[in-house]
Each structure stands twice: as structure tokens, then as C-alpha cells.
């Protein structure tokens, strides 16, 4: 087994302009919260709010590229958004192995994205399968 309980994985992600634009193109979501500064400010945010689901794309990178093995598949993932993410904010990503289920070749991670001010941007759980 390549994974150990409580083992940590860390990575830094940034929602760059390129990431933001590519995600907009991919999702075709042009809701003013994400595209109009004045609208976002009128709702109490300091700038356009980055798409929360960009973080799900970062989770895809984590599972597909950051783990020590490549024969993995996502079974499920849960995410809870806690604070808005703005353009070019650096997010510290931390994932911890929270469960190992060897009988069904499944690993579970608890993860969180932390903003530069220390607030949690999002947190959740991912369950992956190890392909045989």
C-alpha cells in the first residue's frame, strides 16, 4: 500500500487570469458574481468571486498528478465552500489520508484550501479507488 494513515500532501494553487478564463469558457457560466466587479461589490464581496468549481479542477490535479501513483480514479468528492476566492490569490492546499479501505482498494482524503489570510476557502472529502 502506497498510502499511510494521516500522511499529508501539500500543494500551492493560484486562480490566475488564465485559469479563470479557461474555466469560464469550459463552464459557460457568466453569472455577474463572477464577471462583474460592481455586481460582486454590491453583494458585499471585494471583487469578482472566482468560480468555486475551479477548486474542484484543482482537486482533479491533486488526484491525477500529485499522488505517488497514477493508477487512481475518483469515486466521490465533497466540497464545502467557506470563503470566496479572488483572482490571483495563492491557496495552500493540504490533503490528509483519513481512511484506508484495503479490502476495496479505496483511499479517503480530507482536504482544505487555505487563503493567504488564513481563512479556509473550501474543505471536504475525496474518495479514490486504486486501479488494479
Amino acid at each position: 500500500m502506497e498510502f499511510k494513515l494521516d500522511e499529508n500532501y501539500n500543494h500551492e494553487f493560484t486562480v490566475t487570469l488564465d485559469v479563470y478564463q479557461q474555466f469560464q469558457l469550459c463552464s459557460n457560466d457568466r453569472n455577474p458574481l463572477h464577471t462583474n466587479v460592481d455586481f460582486a461589490k454590491s453583494k458585499g464581496f471585494t471583487d469578482k468571486v472566482m468560480y468555486g468549481n475551479i477548486l474542484n479542477a484543482f482537486l482533479s490535479f491533486f488526484v491525477g498528478e500529485c499522488l505517488p501513483i497514477k493508477n487512481v480514479i475518483i469515486h466521490s468528492q465533497e466540497i464545502a465552500f467557506r470563503n470566496p476566492v479572488y483572482l490571483n490569490e495563492k491557496l495552500e492546499f493540504e490533503a490528509k489520508v483519513s481512511g484506508i479501505f484495503e479490502a476495496v482498494n479505496t483511499i479517503e482524503f480530507k482536504y482544505k484550501f487555505t487563503k493567504p489570510d488564513g481563512k479556509i476557502a473550501a474543505k471536504g472529502l475525496i474518495q479514490i479507488g486504486l486501479l488494479q
Binding site: H75, S76, G99, F101, E102, A103, V104, T106, E108, G129
Partner: protein, 78 residues
């Protein structure tokens, strides 16, 4: 009595994981009797059962189960 409690708890787990309406498990229930109980949901079910009872199964045990009753037998040996 203990088996009745476990089957009731398994029923709740199955309904939560499979999420395709009411599940009514009996000891002889198999995957053919429960809509949505497929190979992928089976993984989720095993994970949920291990968490619920804080136990670990082996792959050999899982493969050997012929029905829900045998799953309960296995839970009771842990």
C-alpha cells in the same frame, strides 16, 4: 436481537449510499434484489460499513459474501 439491529443499521446505510428510494433488506437479500447496488456502490457500502462499526474487512471476506446475512455474520466476528 443484535442481527435485527445490524440489519436496520445496514438498511439506513444502503438507503443513504444507493439513494434510489426505500431499501428493505432481509438476510437473504443480494445485489440482484436491490436497485442501484452495483460494483461501484458496493465499494461505497463497504467503506460506510467499515466506518460505522470501526472494523476492517478483507477482500476475501467481501468476495465470500453470498447475501446480506453473510455480511452480518462477518460483522459479528469483528
Amino acid at each position: 436481537m443484535q442481527r435485527e439491529i445490524i440489519i436496520k443499521e445496514l438498511n439506513e446505510i444502503f438507503e443513504d449510499i444507493i439513494d434510489e428510494g426505500t431499501v428493505f433488506l432481509i438476510e437473504t437479500s443480494t445485489s440482484k434484489d436491490v436497485d442501484g447496488w452495483d460494483s461501484l456502490t458496493n465499494i461505497q457500502l463497504v467503506v460506510a460499513v467499515e466506518k460505522k462499526y470501526n472494523i476492517k474487512f478483507t477482500s476475501e471476506e467481501i468476495i465470500s459474501w453470498k447475501n446480506v446475512g453473510e455480511m452480518i455474520d462477518c460483522i459479528l466476528t469483528k
